[in-house]
Symmetry: C2
Subunit: 316 residues, 2 copies
């Protein structure tokens, strides 16, 4: 259970007096997530999620929180931060920076189909358009600079074959940067468990704490590598129908350019590399006190190898 | 039906391309309301209300719209304006300034009971606290200055007894201003039909287009004169149990001071005067093309006379 900082009902009730959300009705720890402490909070006014930030640099928090506020007021179904009586979104609780955000309805899907991948594509398009007018800047914190740092750190734990694969891919990516692709704030971690569905529609996109400015197409590639696998356990090639649905729906909202089509195979590799590296890092260098077991790094190593060996064509 | 400016599906669909709210699914005119043109709009993303502003001065619109945005991000269940792709809340449609806001669930109640009046009181308290950090300023557009204007305009239509009542009350109010009462942005029109309930809770406070800065207690008095009448048709005295519930719940969130208790009888009269005057004005001086019949002014004349004759004590 990922509760690093316990909060008692009495502490929470007193803290909520600094907001206009009514009285505490109930509070329940959330088990998922390894980065922050999260609680479901219900008051006489509504349902919220309370997050205590355990590791994120304090100076980066406004980028994430204000991005959510920006997207929410553009109609994107993402958690809307609640401002306190001093008109601030971030407020200390038990020694940690904390935020209260709206709790969205719906459930994530383990096996999204063609329709749901189209929903996701349209939502990505709308989110990228809405984010264009967001003026704060934070470079994707898990971008190329971080890849090189993580690669150095995990190298001592890798087999020779893995080291070769990693170095080849870092070389390839260094030669395939795309400075002219459309860029902007991206979610950068929109896996299936970060999208909630209700009645066939996306009712929520959550967990913006890996967001940053990067190629918009990178966001699409991260999604494809998770939502469109033929079989997440057995066959990590991209399923053609779902990939086509994702790309076509996104294109219908924000048309892709020729440069983006050309960059697609390399972007899928970049997205695979990023999650292979972070999983290797969490697996070999777990943080002291880390309460959740790291995901298997092999999964993204397989995806990366496959994308190198069988570069997927653009589909739409 | 209050649709002064018709909007076709094709016009609306094209207009919505300037937002991140998906594609138009349906659009339905709203019959209530006499000031603006309103539509229920449903898109692939969600449910909204579209308002075309017919009469409000363009320079006042940002006060109302930004107040709603401010309150919504503080957790007050009010319509949240949706920003367009240029990051603006107001955008021209068919020649009128227009805004898209979230549509809230719930229904208004014709006969609220003690519990619902307590809900309202708590919500007023929370709304007044949340509005404190709102920095824009617009004097209540239906305040004393407007009373004097409206009184001059309707005078030729009144019977002698009504003229005497009106002049007596304007004199009384001129001698009973309360510069030291807590002030701030108030809704100023929170009648029963502007509050939506769902499962016994207020799920929405709507129609902020009479909002302005005034005594917070004035907002409570407007509510009492509508929500707490013993019988809206037959007995316009304040019902003790419901008035007590309204005041106690509001006090529990934002404690009333001694000055406010002392000002209560005069504030109830001010709230009655304001609506008597606006109903007289709309009745005798209907605007050309006004599509809805004016409310009966007698109702608030009765309330005013009663509050003068039987000044209600403070109840809590």
């Amino acid at each position: 259970m990922s509760v690093y900082t316990p909060v008692s009902d009495a502490e929470l009730a007193a803290w909520l007096d600094g907001y206009s959300v009514g009285k505490l009705a109930s509070c329940e720890p959330i088990k998922a997530g390894i980065e922050n402490t999260n609680y479901f909070v219900t008051t006489t006014q509504g349902r919220y999620v309370l997050t205590l930030f355990e590791r994120l640099p304090a100076e980066e928090l406004p980028f994430y929180i204000n991005l959510m506020a920006h997207l929410a007021r553009h109609g994107i179904p993402c958690p809307a931060p609640i401002a306190d009586l001093a008109d601030q979104y971030l407020r200390s609780l038990n020694g940690k920076p904390a935020a209260l955000v709206t709790r969205l309805p719906g459930r994530s899907l383990e096996r999204p189909g063609v329709e749901e991948c189209a929903e996701l594509g349209a939502l990505l398009g709308r989110m990228h358009l809405a984010a264009r007018s967001y003026s704060a800047y934070l470079e994707n914190p898990r971008g190329p600079r971080w890849w090189r740092f993580a690669a150095r750190e995990v190298r001592p734990f890798l087999k020779e074959k893995e080291i070769r694969l990693l170095e080849d891919e870092l070389d390839f990516q260094a030669q395939h940067r795309f400075p002219d692709l459309p860029r902007g704030p991206v979610h950068a971690d929109l896996f299936r468990d970060n999208a909630l569905f209700e009645n066939g529609r996306i009712s929520g996109v959550i967990d913006f704490y890996f967001a940053g400015v990067d190629c918009l197409l990178y966001d699409v590639a991260v999604c494809a590598n998770d939502w469109c696998l033929a079989d997440p356990q057995a066959d990590r090639r991209l399923d053609e129908a779902r990939t086509r649905a994702l790309l076509a729906a996104c294109h219908a909202v924000r048309p892709f350019g020729a440069l983006e089509r050309a960059a697609w195979p390399a972007m899928l590799r970049a997205a695979a590399l990023r999650f292979w590296l972070s999983r290797l890092y969490d697996f070999h260098l777990p943080r002291p006190g880390m309460l959740v077991h790291a995901h298997d790094p092999e999964h993204f190593c397989d995806i990366l190898e496959l994308r190198m060996r069988l570069p997927p064509a653009w589909l739409d």
